[in-house]
Amino acid sequence: MALLELRDVHTFYGNIHALKGVSLSVEQGEIVTLIGSNGAGKSTTLKTISGLLRPRMGEIWFDGQRIDGLRPDQVVARKITQAPEGRRVFPRMTVLENLEMGAFQRRDKDLNADYERVFSLFPRLRERRTQAGGTLSGGEQQMLAIARALMARPTLLLLDEPSMGLAPILVEQIFDIVKGINAQGTTVLLVEQNALMALGLASRGYILQTGEIVLTDVSARLADNPEVKKAYLGG
């Protein structure tokens, strides 16, 4: 059974039908990517999984339990965390305090091992640890958002467009790190507009168009698909 499974999920913003029956699954240990253009419903899908939005129809299963309709904090308690769209680091808290917030639900307060882990993944954050989140560069904020999400020791990490607004070299760095995080045992669901990079990292992909999954396959074949090439890979 898949670690995460969405079955015919419909999500609305008021009367706007944003997700029109999304079904997808993520297996334990995988990196799966969800690709689509602006407004396709990628972030809506992640927000629905994490409880920030409630689906009007459909089911979400995680680790054998239904999680649709749970509050965000209850979803986090099941070890699903996210680096949200637009990073959303706490601007007036330091890097360390941001990381501490990421571990909010942890009852064991010995975070040193976790600090060490994220600092070895993101050495830049170690240098910046006493600096306020709002004063970091875009790339550093993205690193912080991912590191913060790791502090809860998630089983499933949701990444919402980690490449947004970053220089290509930084994107490559961050994707390498995501690969490393996955190798350490965390399952990743990656939402991206940068289809080429995302398909290079993920084992499988889903193509989302105006709230519907139109195509799914292993990454290599998606990258070769003429339709996908035309729409998302620039020829």
Binding site: D73, L96, R129
Partner: protein
């Protein structure tokens, strides 16, 4: 400011930061206790004895004014939890004050002929106010920013109106009386039983904490203020305090971190309300009477001004703000009025006939222009020092565009402490200094504080 960059930001540096912070606060507290006790002990000499001339020549606060300063500091600390910590703009804080005061009136006055000792009544008052906070919060806290402000504003307006009008209830439909006076209506409730301790001494058979025995009441409210202050420090440094700050900074991100935002905000509302309820209970019992007019909108606003003046989220700042506003209002303005009221009134008598203006000048009293002064303070603060007099580090940095903001978090707070200490002394009037908090590094309190006002 010499931030401890060398020490870095590990847990040890953090601990040192907290320690420095604690020391600063500890010193202020000691000075406050000392000055207050000294002032209380010598008060009768000041008023009647050898030092009487000094008392009349200087704008020293009377013990009654000190008591008002202290309990407004408690109110401000309570509102600070809601506005400063959690970032929820509450414009109707006075509503919970009403709950506290009227609970006391119901349980310890001839109104319903119930006379429960204040020490138990106060627990009920706190509970009722906290419950009211949670009940108001439950449906409204899903609102954000302006909408929450409007709802709380309305609630703050409704409560005194209810107090004014619930004096003639027809309870016959449940078999009760046709004219039931629940709240005392416009004339309020008078008298209310003051707190009494059955300890005999030079003061008589038992110790009464009312305005008839202000020095004892002063010590009581001082003790309570200290308790409340410590509770606030502990709250701020707690897991709950962190959650409030996260919500204030970014509610959606806070939810993504696994914070239950609804119950966390409810707790802020409930706790803030309980402080207000407590102060209401003290106010009712100490002044031995309450009236609906005591709870108008201006009370909510003046408490908010205290917080803005002192520095939102900064505990020392908030206490300082409350002290300053009440001192100016209750001591300084009446004092200055002694010099300016008469000349201005005489000028009004001889000035040319200008409608309205002439009447106003003829009847001029400085104290009635206190809200003009509050307004001026607000305008000047927003332009010159929007972070408040004793701000928290991160907020100061943010508003003055300092690059490496939170380094200051780990600095020492000795200078701030000294600036504040000077003021505490000033409040007690042992020495009168011009305090400039301008150069004080904003190392007070937790980082990342400030409101979404």
């Amino acid at each position: 400011m010499t931030a401890m960059t060398a020490a870095g930001g590990g847990p040890i540096a953090r601990f040192r930061g907290t320690l420095a912070d604690r020391n600063g606060q500890f010193r202020i507290v000691l000075v406050l206790i000392f000055v207050t006790i000294l002032y209380g002990a010598t008060y009768n000499d000041l008023r009647q004895g050898a030092l009487r001339g000094l008392f009349e020549a200087l704008p020293l606060p009377s013990v009654n004014v000190l008591i008002v300063m202290f309990y407004y500091a408690i109110l401000a600390l309570g509102l600070n939890i809601v506005v400063g910590f959690a970032g929820l703009l509450d414009l109707g804080y006075v509503a919970f004050y009403v709950f506290g005061a009227y609970t006391t009136a119901f349980l310890a006055s001839p109104l319903h002929d119930i006379h429960i000792p204040w020490w138990f009544v106060v627990i009920a008052a706190v509970g009722v106010a906290a419950l009211a906070g949670v009940l108001l919060g439950a449906p409204t806290l899903r609102l954000r920013g302006d909408y929450l402000a409007i709802v709380t504003l309305g609630f703050g307006e409704i409560m005194p109106v209810l107090a004014r009008n619930l004096d003639d209830l027809d309870l016959s439909f449940i078999g009760g009386p046709e004219h039931f006076n629940l709240t005392g209506g416009n004339i309020g409730v008078n008298p209310i039983d003051p707190p009494i301790l059955p300890i005999p001494g030079p003061w008589g058979d038992s110790l009464v904490f009312s305005n008839g025995n202000p020095v004892a009441s002063l010590y009581l409210i001082l003790g309570i203020l200290l308790l409340v202050f410590v509770v606030c420090v502990r709250l701020r440094d707690s897991r709950l305090g962190r959650a409030w700050m996260a919500i204030r900074e970014d509610e959606t991100a806070a939810a993504s971190m696994g914070i239950d935002t609804v119950s966390t905000k409810l707790l802020a509302f409930g706790l803030g309300a309980s402080f207000s309820g407590f102060t209401g209970a003290f106010f009712g019992a100490y002044s031995t009477a309450i009236f609906p007019e005591s709870f108008n909108f201006a009370v909510s606003i003046s408490i908010l001004i205290m917080i803005i003046l002192g520095g939102m989220g900064s505990l020392r700042g908030v206490v300082l703000g409350a002290f300053m506003i009440r001192y100016v209002n209750d001591s300084l303005l009446p004092y200055l009025g002694r010099f300016v009221d008469d000349p201005i009134q005489s000028f009004g008598a001889v000035m040319p006939e200008i409608p309205i203006l002439k009447e106003r000048v003829e009847a001029f009293t400085l104290t009635s222009y206190n809200y003009l002064l509050y307004g001026l303070i607000l305008v000047v603060m927003m332009i010159k020092r929007p972070e408040g007099l004793l701000p928290v580090a991160a907020r100061k940095a943010e508003l003055h565009g300092e690059g490496v903001a939170a380094e200051a978090t780990f600095g020492t707070s000795v200078e701030v402490a000294e600036a504040a200490t000077e003021f505490e002394a000033k409040a007690g009037h042992l020495k009168i200094h011009e305090t400039s908090a301008d150069d004080a590094p904003g190392t007070d309190d937790a980082p990342g504080t400030g409101g979404r006002a």
